[in-house]
């Protein structure tokens, strides 16, 4: 079960139109609890509530030394600071799905594991979880540094080679899992889009907005502009796994 809402930009804040129970919410946290029992698309009595950009949920597990960038790993930045790789979002809402959460995850590299998580995630829309039953939000946009995640990260027997590009200056796109996961390889970033509707995932891939530089993840999405007509081609070496994290 997922939720979406009618959103419209009115001045500096987006406004969420919902029923009066939802309209009584004062904070995003409280609203989240109320929304868990409310199907917004069925609301009738309309009211309006300001929806602020969510706080960044800081899920960085690292020590001071892990803030150092090496050839194979970017240093971890906390959620309160700009990422040290170009990140992308869909702005403050997409296709009626409001931005509900921002996650900054950067794990301690483990010798026993072939990779670690290092991404900034924007989550759109809500869902209702239960005991022993997590739920998948309708849409999630994760950006990873391409030196840590790219097409080359996967076993060769799972991923065939890319088709020749029709345009040397364009980003590349790969579709996985029946369209529920799409990866966009652009410059020094890998944008991974997850969703429950392949059509929506595809539309999201065409609507990515680069975060303005030097802004923290929540400030960046609040300041983001329009999606550009194209995104740059992947940096040399990023599709073959030879891109160094040290630029």
């Amino acid at each position: 079960m997922t939720f979406r809402a009618n959103l419209s930009a009115e001045g500096p804040e987006l406004r969420l139109h919902s029923n009066r129970v939802f309209g009584a919410c004062m904070t995003i946290g409280v609203c989240g609890l109320v929304a868990a029992g409310t199907r917004l698309s069925h609301s009738t009595a309309q009211s309006t509530v300001q929806v602020p950009v969510p706080r960044v949920s800081d899920q960085v597990f690292s020590s001071t030394t892990d803030r150092q960038t090496t050839r194979t790993k970017m240093g971890c930045t906390p959620g309160s600071q700009p990422t040290n790789f170009a990140a992308y979002s869909l702005g403050r809402s997409f296709n009626g799905l409001p931005l509900m959460a921002i996650l900054r995850r950067c794990d301690l590299p483990q010798a026993s594991q072939p990779t670690r998580a290092n991404y900034l995630s924007y989550i759109y829309g809500d869902c209702v979880s239960g005991s022993d039953q997590g739920c998948q939000p309708p849409l999630e946009v994760q950006t990873w540094p391409a030196c840590e995640r790219s097409l080359a990260s996967y076993a060769s027997n799972e991923i065939p080679s890319l088709d020749p590009p029709a345009n040397d200056s364009a980003a590349r796109v790969a579709v996985f899992d029946g369209g529920n996961r799409t990866e966009v390889y652009t410059d020094r970033s890998t944008v991974v889009i997850f969703g429950t509707d392949p059509g929506e995932v595809k539309a999201a891939a065409a609507s990515l907005i680069p975060n303005p530089p030097n802004l923290a993840p929540n400030t960046a999405v609040a300041s983001s502009g329009q999606a550009p007509s194209s995104l740059p081609a992947p940096a040399p070496g990023s599709l073959t796994g030879t891109l160094s994290c040290i630029s």
């Binding site: 995630s121 796109v173 579709v175």
Partner: protein
């Protein structure tokens, strides 16, 4: 192996694209409901048993190797590779846990046999995770969130603990990158996702 869809972003030419699927034994995420096994994802698939990895043997050996002898927990479904080459939505075959589901914290894995695996290489998959009881607001079992420990989220902790226990028992254990890193909202409102790693455990024939 299905073809990989590649498009040029400027015009976003997805035309003619097909998709590469998750490692072909199953879909990437378990489901809370059966039916078409679509759009109700709950856990990332993060473990593979192979060789003598049929579901019955997998659950028995898991209990022996890890001590995860309890079998309580809610049912889930998964689209698994069928004998006819397609994919069918199956209810889990077994589950193993380190404690009952009312225990304050436990490791837990649900196991699905893969009917489409070859006779000389029976496979099963699972959703290993580390979870805790959250009593507030009627929550219940909640997988530990991202950043919970050096291993990562509760999904990463469960997978790593499973692998460590099998290594300690002398089994061959390897890891691969599967890329199923979507986040799942838990009943405490926090998010947990896998780092995309899958553990592969050989159960000798």
């Amino acid at each position: 192996m299905l073809g990989l869809a590649v498009a040029i972003f400027g015009s976003l030419a997805f035309a003619g694209a097909s998709s590469a699927d998750f490692p072909t034994f199953s879909h990437a995420y378990t489901q809370r409901t059966g039916g078409d096994c679509q759009n109700d994802g709950s856990d990332p698939v993060d473990a593979l048993y192979y060789d003598h990895g049929g579901a019955t043997n997998a659950t028995t050996v898991t209990a022996n190797a890890t001590g995860w002898n309890h079998n309580s927990g809610d049912p889930q479904w998964l689209s698994v590779h069928a004998a006819n080459g397609g994919y069918n939505c199956h209810l889990m075959d077994y589950q193993n846990a380190s404690a009952g589901d009312l225990h304050i914290t436990r490791y837990h894995i649900r196991i699905w046999g893969i009917p489409g695996s070859p006779p000389d290489n029976h496979k099963s998959v699972g959703d290993a995770h580390h979870e805790r009881i959250v009593p507030e607001d009627g929550c219940g079992d909640s997988v530990y969130p991202n950043g919970h420990s050096a291993d990562g989220s509760g999904f990463d902790e469960g997978r790593e603990e499973l692998g460590r226990q099998f290594i300690a028992d002398g089994f061959r254990v390897t890891e691969d990158i599967w890329g199923n890193t979507a986040n799942f909202k838990q009943c405490d409102g926090q998010f947990a996702g896998s780092n995309g790693v899958g553990v592969q455990i050989q159960l000798p024939i």
